[in-house]
C-alpha cells in the first residue's frame, strides 16, 4: 500500500483542479481527458498488441454519433444511448479488426485507414447522421439532478471514467493477457507456439480499442453535445497518433501524458495552428528517429547512456538443477508421423516421411542442410499443414491443428534462430510460457479481476522456481537481446519447459554454443527426459547426437534414409553418401565407435 502513497496528492490535485480554473480552461481539460482515454485505447492496440490501427478516431466517431442519433432521432435517454454506443463502437472495432486476422503491419495500417475514411464518408453524406452539418441538440446527460451542462461538473464524471479506464488498462497490460499481447507484438509465431491464440488475441486488441473509442465518444457527445464529421477526420487521427508516439506507445501512462500534453500545447498554439501542425510533424519524426519509446522511454535511455560510462558486470549462468526423475506418464508412442509430404509449389520439402518416437525417448534428427528437418518440426508443431499424411500425438490425430492448440496439447519447441520476445524481460518470457490459460478465460478480466491477480501471483512463484532451476537468476530482469548467445539459448529452453510439455522439439539447440555449454545442454536434456518428457532434437553437432540420442533418424532430400541406434546409423552407406558424397569409402564400425567415444568423453 505504501507504494501507492504518491496517488493521494495526485488525486487531491485532480479533485481540486477545477477550483483554480476558468470556464474555458476547464473545457480544454475536459477535451484533453477525452483524448487521453482515446490514446489509452490506441496505446493498447498499437503499443501493447502491435496492431497498426489507424481507425481509432472512427471508433470515437461511432460512439459519439450513435449517442447523437439515438438521443435526437430515436428519442432514447442519454445513458441508454451511451451503453448502446459503446456496444456499437466495440462491434465496429471487431469489424475493422477482422482484416488483422489476415494481414499485419503496413497492410493493416492502410486497410484500417481506408475503413476510417469510409466512416467519414458515410457520416458526411448520410441524412441520418446530419450530413456535413452534423447533429446538434444532443440532450444534457441527466445525473440525479446534477447539472452536467456545466463543464466543471462534467469534469468529475470524466475524471471518474478516466480513472477507471486507466486502471483497467494498467491492469490488463500487467496481467497475463497483456503479457501475451506484448509477446504477440514481438513475435507472433513464437507466441503461437507458446499457446497464445493469435486470432483471438488480435480481436481482443480491437475490442479494447473499440471500447475505449466508444467510451471517449460518449463523453464527447455529452460534453460538446454536437457532432460533425470534421471532429473525426484523418487530421485528428494523426493528432492522436502523435500523442501516442510522443508519449511512448508501449506505456499506457506515457500515452496519457502525451495526450494531455499535446492537447494543452495545441490549445496554447491555437493562434499559430499552421506552424503548430508543422511542429507536431517534426516532433513525431524526431521522436521516431531519436527516442523510439517516446517520453516514457526517455528515463531508461538516459540511464543506459550513463551506465555505458560506468562498468557493467558480465551476466553469468548459474548451474542447472536437475528435475526429479519421474517415469513417463503413459506407455506407447508420444509422436507418430505417418507418410507426411509437404510441398511448396514445385519443391517437395518432405516426401512421405514416417517416424515413430516412443514415449520417454530422446530422438535425434540429422541430415544435411536443406534436407527438410526444420520443415518436419514446422509440420509437427502446426506452423505448416502437411500436404499429405498425418501426425499423431499420443495416439490422437492432430494433423492441421494450429500451433496454439498443439501447444495446449503439450508440444513445446525451440527455434533454430532463437525467437525470444525482445522487449520482454527474461522473467516475462518464461511467464508467457507458464501461462496455460485459454484466451476464452479473459471474461474474468472485467468481472473477477482479483482472481486474475491471484493467478498472476501463482505464475510468478512458479517462474522464480524455473528461473532458479535453469540458473537464470542473474539475468531474470534483463532483456534477452542484451545477453550473450549461450544464455539466450538457455532461456529459450527454459521457456519451452515452462509449458510443462510432454513432447519437446529442439531445433539445433547447440548451434553457437561452446564446448562447456554443449556439455551442460546434454545434461539438461537428459534430465528433462528423465522427468518424463519425450525429446526430439535436430542437431548438427554429431558428438552431441551420438552421445545423447537413443535413436537417430536421418533425412536427406526430404526422405528418411536411415533410422536406428546412433552407431548403426553412422556407418549406414546411404548416410555416409548423403553427408560426404558417395566417392568416399564408408568408415568402419571401429571408427564410428571411436567417434562416439570421443563425443561422450
Amino acid at each position: 500500500m505504501k507504494r501507492l502513497a504518491w496517488l493521494v496528492p495526485v488525486a487531491l490535485a485532480a479533485w481540486l483542479l477545477p477550483y483554480g480554473l476558468g470556464g474555458y480552461s476547464i473545457h480544454v481539460i475536459d477535451v484533453a481527458i477525452i483524448f487521453a482515454i482515446l490514446a489509452i485505447g490506441l496505446g493498447l492496440t498499437m503499443g501493447v498488441a502491435g496492431q497498426i490501427n489507424l481507425a481509432q478516431v472512427a471508433f470515437f466517431g461511432v460512439g459519439a454519433y450513435t449517442v447523437a442519433i439515438l438521443t435526437t432521432q430515436a428519442g432514447l435517454g442519454f445513458w441508454t444511448a451511451a451503453v448502446l454506443a459503446v456496444v456499437a463502437a466495440v462491434v465496429f472495432g471487431i469489424l475493422v479488426g477482422i482484416p488483422a486476422l489476415r494481414m499485419q503491419s503496413h497492410y493493416l495500417g492502410i486497410v484500417t485507414l481506408g475503413l476510417a475514411l469510409a466512416f467519414t464518408n458515410w457520416v458526411t453524406n448520410s441524412t441520418i447522421a446530419g450530413r456535413a452539418e452534423g447533429i446538434s441538440d444532443i440532450p444534457v446527460p441527466p445525473m440525479f439532478g446534477i447539472d452536467l451542462s456545466s463543464g466543471y461538473l462534467f469534469y468529475y464524471v470524466e475524471l471518474l471514467v478516466f480513472v477507471v479506464s486507466l486502471a483497467f488498462a494498467l491492469f490488463v497490460t500487467r496481467s497475463p493477457l497483456g503479457r501475451r499481447l506484448r509477446a504477440m507484438r514481438d513475435d507472433d509465431l513464437a507466441a503461437g507456439a507458446l499457446g497464445a491464440e493469435i486470432p483471438l488475441l488480435r480481436m481482443t486488441a480491437f475490442v479494447l480499442s473499440g471500447l475505449y473509442g466508444g467510451v471517449a465518444g460518449v463523453l464527447y457527445a455529452g460534453l460538446i453535445r454536437f457532432v460533425a464529421p470534421e471532429s473525426f477526420n484523418i487530421a485528428n487521427m494523426f493528432l492522436l497518433l502523435a500523442m501516442v508516439i510522443i508519449g511512448g506507445r508501449a506505456s499506457i501512462v506515457g500515452c496519457v501524458i502525451g495526450a494531455i500534453g499535446l492537447a494543452m500545447v495545441r490549445e496554447a498554439l491555437l493562434d499559430a495552428s499552421g506552424y503548430a501542425q508543422l511542429g507536431y510533424g517534426l516532433v513525431v519524426v524526431l521522436v521516431v528517429v531519436f527516442a523510439p519509446k517516446g517520453l516514457a522511454g526517455l528515463p531508461e535511455q538516459l540511464r543506459l547512456l550513463l551506465r555505458r560510462r560506468g562498468s557493467g558486470s558480465r551476466a553469468q549462468l548459474g548451474p542447472f538443477l536437475p528435475y526429479d526423475s519421474a517415469p513417463a506418464a503413459a506407455e506407447g508412442d508420444a509422436l507418430d508421423v505417418r507418410n507426411v509430404t509437404k510441398r511448396f509449389k514445385g519443391l517437395i520439402a518432405l516426401d512421405t516421411v514416417s517416424l515413430t518416437v516412443p514415449t520417454g525417448q530422446i530422438r535425434g534428427i540429422v541430415g544435411p542442410n536443406g534436407s527438410g528437418k526444420t520443415t518436419l518440426f514446422n509440420v509437427i508443431s502446426g506452423f505448416y499443414t502437411a500436404t499429405q499424411g498425418s501426425v499423431l500425438l499420443g495416439g490422437h490425430d492432430v494433423t492441421g491443428e494450429a500451433p496454439y492448440r498443439l501447444s495446449q496439447r503439450g508440444v513445446a519447441r525451440t527455434f533454430q534462430n532463437l525467437r525470444l520476445f525482445e522487449d520482454l524481460s527474461v522473467r516475462e518470457n518464461i511467464l508467457v510460457g507458464l501461462d496455460r490459460t485459454r484466451t476464452a478465460w479473459i471474461w474474468r478480466y472485467p468481472i473477477l479481476p482479483w482472481k486474475v491477480l491471484g493467478y498472476e501471483r501463482r505464475l510468478r512463484a512458479r517462474a522464480e522456481e524455473l528461473i532458479e532451476r535453469f540458473g537464470l537468476a542473474d539475468v531474470a530482469g534483463a532483456e534477452p537481446r542484451s545477453l550473450p548467445y549461450g544464455i539466450q539459448r538457455r532461456i529459450e529452453l527454459a521457456r519451452a519447459m515452462a509449458m510443462s510439455p510432454t513432447l519437446l522439439l529442439l531445433d539445433e539447440p547447440a548451434a553457437g554454443l561452446n564446448g562447456e555449454e554443449v556439455r551442460q545442454l546434454g545434461e539438461i536434456v537428459r534430465s528433462i527426459r528423465d522427468s518424463g518428457v519425450t525429446v526430439v532434437i535436430i542437431e548438427h553437432n554429431m558428438g552431441l547426437v551420438m552421445s545423447l540420442c537413443e535413436q537417430v533418424t536421418v533425412l536427406s532430400g526430404g526422405k528418411v534414409i536411415a533410422d536406428g541406434p546412433p552407431a548403426e546409423v553412422a556407418v549406414h552407406p546411404d548416410v555416409v553418401a548423403a553427408y560426404l558424397g558417395d566417392s568416399m569409402t564408408a568408415p568402419t564400425e571401429a571408427a564410428a565407435e571411436a567417434a562416439i567415444e570421443e563425443a561422450t568423453r
Binding site: I110, N121, V288
Partner: protein, 289 residues
C-alpha cells in the same frame, strides 16, 4: 453501354495516375524496405509546384511538370536523408515516421499556399474527341500517354542500365549488394528521388482533373497505397495493374453510388485484400518484417 464506356475512360485516366503513385511507393519499398506514408503528400507538393509554376509563368505545361519533378526530387533527397536511420528497421516506427513527415509537408503547403487551394485549367484546350457517342477528353489521352511513357522509361532504366540493375540488386539483398561494391546509400537516395519524381508527375497530371489543395495528398496517397497493395506490394507490374484496377473501382463506385463512392471503394478494397492479402502479383520482396 455508353455510360459504361464513359466510366471506363474516366477510370483508366485516374487509374493511370494511381499507377504512377503506386509505382513511386513500390520503387521505394522494394529498394529500401521503407513504407513511405509521406508519398501522398509528395504528390500534393508536386501538384502545387506544377500548377503554381504553370499559372504564374504561362510556359508550356510540360515545362511545369519538369520543374515539379525537380522540386520534389530534391525534397525526396532531403526526406531520404532524414529517414535513413529507419530504413530496414522496425516497420511500425517507419510507418509512423513517414506519416509524421507527411504531416510536415502538408502543414508546409498550408503555410506556403494557404489552406484553400486553387483550380487548374486544363492545359489542353481542344474539344473532347467524340467516338460513337463516348466523349474522350483529350487531356485524358495525354495523361494516359504520359503515364505509359513514364512506365516504359522506368522499366528501361531498371532493366537496361547499370544503375537500374544496381537498384534491383539492392532490392534483393542490400548486404550482398554492398559486398559487390554498390553504394547502397546512393542507390537508395536515387530510388527515393525517382519515387518522388513519379509522385510529382502524378501530382502535376492530376492537378487539372481535381482541385489542388493541401489535403489532397492524404486521399491520393491512401488510394495509391491501396493500389500498390492490390497489385502486390513492391511489384512494378503489380503497381500498374493495381493502379488501373483501383481507378476503375473508384470510377464505377462513383458512377453507381455517387457520394458514397469512397465508402464503397474502401469496403470493396478491404474485402479484396482480405481474400488475397499479397495482391495480384504477390509481394515481390521477401518479407522484411
Amino acid at each position: 453501354m455508353q455510360v459504361f464506356l464513359q466510366t471506363l475512360i474516366g477510370g483508366i485516366t485516374f487509374g493511370a495516375v494511381y499507377a504512377l503513385v503506386a509505382m513511386g511507393f513500390s520503387i521505394v519499398y522494394r529498394t529500401m524496405g521503407l513504407v513511405n506514408f509521406a508519398h501522398g503528400s509528395v504528390v500534393m507538393i508536386g501538384a502545387y509546384a506544377a500548377s503554381t509554376f504553370y499559372l504564374a509563368t504561362q510556359l508550356p505545361f510540360a515545362v511545369a511538370i519538369v520543374v515539379a519533378i525537380v522540386v520534389t526530387g530534391l525534397i525526396g533527397l532531403v526526406i531520404e536523408r532524414f529517414l535513413r536511420p529507419l530504413e530496414n528497421k522496425d516497420f511500425t516506427l517507419m510507418l509512423i515516421g513517414t506519416i509524421g513527415f507527411g504531416a510536415v509537408l502538408e502543414a508546409g503547403a498550408v503555410l506556403v499556399w494557404g489552406a484553400t487551394g486553387h483550380a487548374v485549367p486544363s492545359p489542353v484546350a481542344t474539344a473532347p474527341i467524340d467516338l460513337a457517342g463516348v466523349r474522350i477528353p483529350t487531356y485524358s489521352l495525354m495523361v494516359i500517354a504520359i503515364a505509359a511513357a513514364a512506365t516504359g522509361l522506368l522499366a528501361l532504366f531498371l532493366q537496361r542500365t547499370k544503375r537500374g540493375a544496381a537498384m534491383q540488386a539492392v532490392a534483393m539483398d542490400h548486404q550482398a549488394a554492398t559486398a559487390v561494391g554498390i553504394h547502397v546509400g546512393r542507390s537508395n537516395a536515387l530510388a527515393f528521388a525517382i519515387g518522388a519524381g513519379l509522385a510529382a508527375l502524378a501530382g502535376s497530371l492530376i492537378g487539372p482533373m481535381l482541385y489542388v489543395n493541401p489535403t489532397m495528398g492524404g486521399t491520393l496517397g491512401i488510394k495509391g497505397f491501396a493500389a500498390a497493395m492490390l497489385g502486390g506490394f513492391g511489384s512494378m507490374p503489380g503497381a500498374i495493374v493495381g493502379g488501373l484496377a483501383f481507378g476503375l473501382l473508384d470510377s464505377f463506385a462513383a458512377g453507381n453510388f455517387q457520394e458514397y463512392s469512397e465508402l464503397v471503394t474502401f469496403l470493396v478494397f478491404a474485402l479484396v485484400v482480405m481474400i488475397r492479402p499479397t495482391g495480384i502479383f504477390g509481394e515481390a520482396t521477401v518479407n522484411r518484417a
